[in-house]
Amino acid sequence: MDWSLIKKSIMTGRETKMGNILKIALRNLFRYKRRTLLTASLIAIGVILVVVFGGIANSFKNKVIGILTNSNLADIQIHKKGYISSIDNLPLDLTISGEGINKIENLLKENEQIKAFSKRFRFGSAISNFVQTTNIRLTAVYPEMESQTCPDLPKRIKNSKNEPSNFVRRGELIVPINLAQGLDLKVGSDVVLVANNKDGSVNGITLRVSGISENILGPTGKDGYLHLDDARTLLRIPTSQNEVTEIAIKLNNFDKLDYVYNQLKSELMKFKTQSGKPMYEISTWKELSPFASIVRIIDLLIIVVKIVLIFIVLVSILNVMIMSVYERVSEIGTIASIGTPPGKILSLFLVEGFSLGLISSIVGSLLGIAILFLFSIIKLNFTFGRMELALSPEIQLSEVIFTSLIVIIISVVSSLQPAIKASKLEPVDALRHV
């Protein structure tokens, strides 16, 4: 017996049946053109809404996250345990020092996922222009390390004549724009920084303003910058005493944030104090910026829009399919009486709902992508806080496919009840229906 021939015959039969079911389903859809067009338009508009809203919202989210992580927060930060809970006070006694820095540096250098890292010392100080005095939050950095970790930071510094990789040299200070305006500081102005070190003694140094930095959202968005060696001088930390308040980390691939975070966390947990408690803490940008809450709200809104879409599809398709079954009871009776199995009658209506969902989602997705493309050409400019944003919305293909899949699945699910009803109709009753 030639099994391959039998198998081929069965497969061909199945394909023919499915092709015929699809043909009948599509023709039935186009039989009621106006109703199909209205329903398909409604679903397509829902898909457009999801694609366009998702594209703009995600673009805004990614843009702001990009600014935050590339300008000052970096992707991940490591601190001495307890530092984050008292970050508002900028404590000088919760520092990573000596052996700890070396071990962490080795850990980071060995990790292929890490592009760059920067040692920082954050502290509060008084700043004087010899006429007025006010407070300033300062981040002391090695510019070459910082510019690799936060590549957009030098771009935020205006009027600077320094190279981006050496944006703050020894003897120089970058002041935030608000403070520069308040103290009437310009590039070239001399200022005095006066700060307490961790023992409580006071020291002061004179620095020259070499740039004015634009403010951005977040806790470090209004910090001034100086060279780490100048900070050591000011705070009387011996050069031999390698000491920082944080280590900021830039990843090769931002999408692997959680993976690298977990990887580093498990490594850092191996460092214990004498009492056996963890010595360091590790945080992603999400734990360091209030924008993370806005991101959660944006994600929630996208979910809400998707839920609205689900309801639009559910109600529209259910309505169309119920009408369709009701109008075609006699036809169902005919096909049932000539021997069409209940399963195939079920398939006929499911495929009809599926086709309506598929066509609507394809049209909606294409129009949504076209609208996003148009937006990306004309650019959407607006101000968020003090940040100027030029959005060029885009959406990932996977997101469009996911939205289309939701529509198709809901279309099939909402066709299920009418389709089951059709398949369970008694032919004799259906044939009597006028």
Binding site: I10, R14, N20, E331, G339, T340, P341, E426, V428
Partner: protein
């Protein structure tokens, strides 16, 4: 040997709180290759009897055998398969699928009920359409056809699976005299060529004048049976 055998068949409908006896103790034997008709006034039980023979409905009591299969015990799926394999239907209102062409309507049972290969399908459909005189209309949709043309397509659809029985409920009710006569003639020719048993439920004297056996029903009972042996070869 009987192709259709009904033993003590009763059918009672529950209409609200009232029980209506549509068929009362029907006993029948119909042999293969016959051209027969149930006649009688409205409400006599003709359509109910046709529905029971067509496995579209179940009797309240009694047994129905078709081709030696006790069909009153078949489930929904088995009934559907049995109908697809053994019975063809012709309806008063033609009941063609409006979204399919003439060719596709006739082809439908060969795809959806049987899995006949494409070349065989095409051959069978075209042969039948030629026999019923509808070959030149094969690409038209039902709404482009006259009543007589639709019924001839329905005859072709009923016969395309080579069923043992074709059941026709008032097949000429919506046709004019000339067209009705042509449709009956077509069915008669098909019966002679293919040996298919045709069973009608009708009032139409044109149909009655063509059949070999006439069963008269009144109030759910067969009250008369007339055999016209002279009509076999027509």
């Amino acid at each position: 040997m009987s192709l259709v055998k009904l033993k003590n068949v009763k059918k009672i409908y529950q209409v609200g709180e009232v029980k209506v006896s549509a068929l009362k103790d029907i006993n029948l034997n119909i042999n293969k290759g016959k051209f027969i008709s149930f006649i009688g006034p409205s409400g006599s039980g003709k359509t109910t009897l046709l529905n029971l023979i067509g496995c579209l409905d179940k009797p309240t009591n009694g047994e129905i055998f078709i081709n030696d299969v006790k069909v009153n015990q078949l489930g929904r799926k088995e009934s559907a398969k049995f109908r697809g394999d053994n019975i063809g239907f012709i309806f008063q209102n033609f009941n063609l699928l409006p979204v399919l062409t003439v060719f596709e309507n006739v082809e439908y049972p060969l795809i959806m009920v049987h899995s006949v290969p494409k070349t065989e399908r095409k051959k069978r459909v075209l042969t039948l359409l030629e026999k019923v005189g509808m070959l030149d209309q094969k690409d038209k949709y039902p709404n482009q056809l006259s009543g007589g043309q639709k019924q001839r397509v329905a005859v072709a659809r009923a016969l395309v699976t080579n069923p043992k029985i074709v059941l026709a409920d008032e097949p000429t009710a919506n046709l004019d005299h000339k067209t009705a006569y042509r449709v009956i003639k077509t069915m008669h020719i098909m019966k002679n060529e293919l040996g298919t048993t045709f069973i009608f439920a009708t009032h139409d004297p044109k149909v009655v004048g063509e059949v070999e056996t006439i069963y008269t029903l009144e109030d759910g009972l067969v009250v008369d049976k007339k055999i016209h042996n002279d009509r076999k070869g027509n």
